[in-house]
């Protein structure tokens, strides 16, 4: 039997790698992928808890996370495309039109 804590550690490590990608990368698309990575790592811990506590709540939460993340990705990518039409760059440090 695999202890619950192993899953949580795996999830935490993946989450932190996602945080690093989110904070350090310049490419907006990779930043989006890092967000997906963070959401997925949380999902792993939720499913693990659901299995070990014999409760369905974790799996339902994962279901909602997937649904809401789909909305987030659709809107986010639409914003990227809309921005790219005006100013063809997807480097976050070059996206500074609002800076005075």
């Amino acid at each position: 039997m695999v202890p619950l804590s192993w899953y949580i550690v795996l999830s935490a490590v993946m989450f932190c790698i996602g945080v690093f990608g989110f904070l350090a990368r310049r490419n907006l698309l990779i930043i989006f992928i890092s967000i997906e990575l963070m959401l997925n790592s949380v999902n792993i811990s939720l499913v693990a808890f659901s299995h070990y506590l014999q409760s369905m709540t974790g799996q339902i939460l994962v279901f909602f996370v997937i649904a809401v993340a789909a909305a987030e990705a659709a809107i986010g990518l639409a914003i990227i495309i809309a921005y790219y039409k005006n100013n063809p760059t997807i480097k976050v440090d070059e996206i500074n039109l609002l800076k005075g």
Partner: protein, 171 residues
């Protein structure tokens, strides 16, 4: 080590390596491809945890729809000069420091967890007698019907938002 632990060790090591590959590739398409491999690993881990339905949804929604959408957007944008520019922002050491701090923080919290809530009624036998799909459906449409409806509203808002953002302005 028992066989399940061996399997888990393989998954843990390869998933960590894959995550690092995902966030460090220069080319976004390579990132997406490693993400695809990572998602397949995650789906396998879900199977391990008796969540067949979520494993299938993971592949259909994430790999089948989300990543295809990412590749589609990457193809729409012209990323040729990506190859020569620098990958990381200037403040990347701060990012690395924060993520390291977070790992330490998580591990410290882990040590503090001493007791878990009481076990629920959905044991492996209970789920297997009805099937994972049936169980999750019943819970979703009884206990969680309100969040379910709200999620559908969020998706509707996202559809409208994406259409508004993407459509051409007609003068």
């Amino acid at each position: 080590m028992t066989l399940p632990q061996l399997f888990f060790t393989y998954f843990a090591i390869s998933m960590t390596i894959l995550s690092v590959l995902v966030v460090t590739r220069r080319n976004p398409v390579h990132s997406v491809l490693w993400m695809l491999v990572l998602f397949i690993h995650i789906a396998a881990l879900y199977l391990f945890l008796n969540a067949e339905f979520l494993a299938a949804v993971q592949i259909i929604v994430y790999a089948g729809a989300r990543l295809v959408l990412f590749v589609f957007v990457i193809m729409l944008l012209n990323l040729k000069k990506e190859k020569t520019e620098k990958k990381y922002q200037d403040q990347w050491p701060v990012g690395a420091g924060i993520s390291l701090l977070m790992i330490i923080f998580f591990v410290l919290i882990m040590g503090k967890i001493t007791e878990l809530p009481a076990l629920g009624k959905y044991s492996i036998e209970a789920i297997q007698s009805e099937g994972s799909l049936m169980t999750i459906g019943k819970v979703l449409y009884t206990e969680y019907i309100l969040p379910f409806e709200i999620a559908s509203v969020i998706l509707l808002v996202a559809i409208i938002g994406a259409v508004v953002l993407a459509k051409k302005r007609i003068e």
